[in-house]
């Protein structure tokens, strides 16, 4: 009898936790995504929580893989995860949608009450145009929020492992205008 009760309770627990974490078709919520912890969460736990990614692609010049999740309504990218060669999450990037409270920088910062953000413009990478981005970064905690300067809107919220990956951005082959 004890075994049956224990089994039922276990099944109920698994079912509930699955319901709590499994995101319904593309309608992700940031509060749930924040449970994805770099270096701890792995492919299996992400698959359980979010289901399969819409796009899986290798990160150029690295052993990492990107999982892209789209908003099912619009098809726009909503979330990306980078997994290291050990299939652990290296980084999480959440794209904010128009009309969400997180589009306001103060609201986005509130998700990280213990963070200390350094604020600065994104560095020039394109040789002939300045980036339209203001970065709010807590280097110690590996958190960054990107604001679209011209509109004062948060574009993305991301957090990453403090163990660096060997990925780096590739410049264009040549400059053209």
């Amino acid at each position: 009898m004890k075994f049956i009760i224990l089994t039922c309770v276990s099944l109920l627990f698994v079912s509930c936790s699955s319901l709590e974490t499994q995101e319904s078709k593309g309608t992700f919520a940031l509060k749930n995504i924040l449970n994805i912890i770099p270096d701890k969460s792995d492919e299996e736990s992400v698959l359980l929580a979010l289901g399969p990614a819409d796009v899986v692609m290798p990160i150029p010049n690295s052993d990492s893989t990107a999982w892209i999740f789209k908003d099912k309504r619009t098809g726009h990218q909503r979330l990306s995860l980078v997994f290291n060669s050990e299939k652990k999450v290296h980084s999480v990037l959440w794209l904010v949608r128009q009309g969400e409270p997180e589009i306001n920088i103060a609201n986005s910062k509130n998700y990280f009450p213990h963070a200390t953000f350094e604020e600065k413009d994104a560095p020039w990478e394109n040789p002939h145009a300045a980036p339209n981005e203001r970065l709010y970064t807590d280097h110690e905690k590996g958190i960054s929020i990107t604001v679209r300067k011209s509109r004062q809107e948060v574009e993305s919220i991301s957090w990453h492992s403090l163990n660096s990956q060997s990925t780096h951005r590739q410049p264009a082959v040549k400059f053209e205008l």
Binding site: T74, A130, N132, H160
Partner: protein
């Protein structure tokens, strides 16, 4: 007598101020104009332009006082040397902007700066927040000035897109974004770029595509039909070059 004629020729342009021109016109001092190419591909010969009054177009009204003569205080490229605008260059810029659809410049916050040479060699222009710098190469025959300026306006247009529109452009043109080591990394589509530097970022890709939409739509359609369609849908029928000949 000769001295007198020279003196008159020298002084005359100085008196050709807007006060001498009818309402709605402004004065243009005499100047040497180099040969150049209009937006529609028409070659314009070099000539000496005598001082005259010129009708002030809508774009002139907007841009006439945007020519800056001092260096932008926060310009990061210290090695780039500031130059003064010549009458010829100002006229060329005003003509070039007039040829562009007003939807890409009407909300512009750019001020116009003139510098000698880009730190990136032949680069004809650089833009940053509220700053558009044109270099010597922008005024050579090799570059169509209106095209150069259109590209820089396109950067600003991209910056002013609503987040949802920017994300929609990324969706249409197959851009993804990830975070690696705290930096945003844009993952570009494998091919379909009208210019190779479009791989750098969705913004550069957008600027190239908008430029090609205006100046070489055949190439854009053949290389990135999705970008062509997106721009056409987003801007409607108002995105056409204009004739702005004198």
């Amino acid at each position: 007598m000769k001295i007198f004629i020279h003196l008159v020729l020298l002084i005359t342009p100085l008196f050709a101020t807007s006060a001498n021109c009818p309402l709605g016109e402004y004065s243009v001092k005499s100047h040497n104009r180099r040969a150049y190419v209009r937006a529609d591909g028409t070659f314009v010969n070099a000539t000496v332009v005598s001082s005259h009054c010129r009708k002030q177009r809508e774009s002139d009204n907007y841009w006439h006082d945007k020519f800056e003569i001092s260096r932008p205080s926060d310009w990061p490229h210290k090695q780039e040397i500031l130059k003064s605008w010549t009458v010829e260059e100002k006229e060329r810029v005003l003509d070039a902007i007039c040829e562009l659809p007003d939807s890409i410049w009407k909300n512009s916050k750019y001020k116009l700066y003139r510098m000698k040479k880009s730190k990136d060699g032949k680069n004809p222009a650089t833009s940053a927040n509220g700053i558009l710098v044109l270099y010597d190469t922008a005024f050579t025959q090799k570059n169509v000035l209106s095209r150069v300026i259109a590209h820089e306006f396109a950067h600003e247009v991209y910056g002013n897109l609503k987040s949802s529109d920017a994300q929609d452009y990324h969706f249409a043109t197959n851009w993804f974004e990830v975070n690696t080591n705290g930096k945003r990394l844009r993952l570009a589509r494998k091919d379909g770029f009208v210019a190779d530097d479009g791989r750098v970022s969705p913004e550069e890709d957008f600027a190239n595509n908008l430029e090609f939409f205006l100046f070489d739509d055949k190439s854009l359609k053949s290389k990135t039909l999705n970008a062509y369609k997106w721009i056409a849908d987003h801007f409607g029928d108002n995105l056409n070059l204009r004739k702005c000949n004198k």
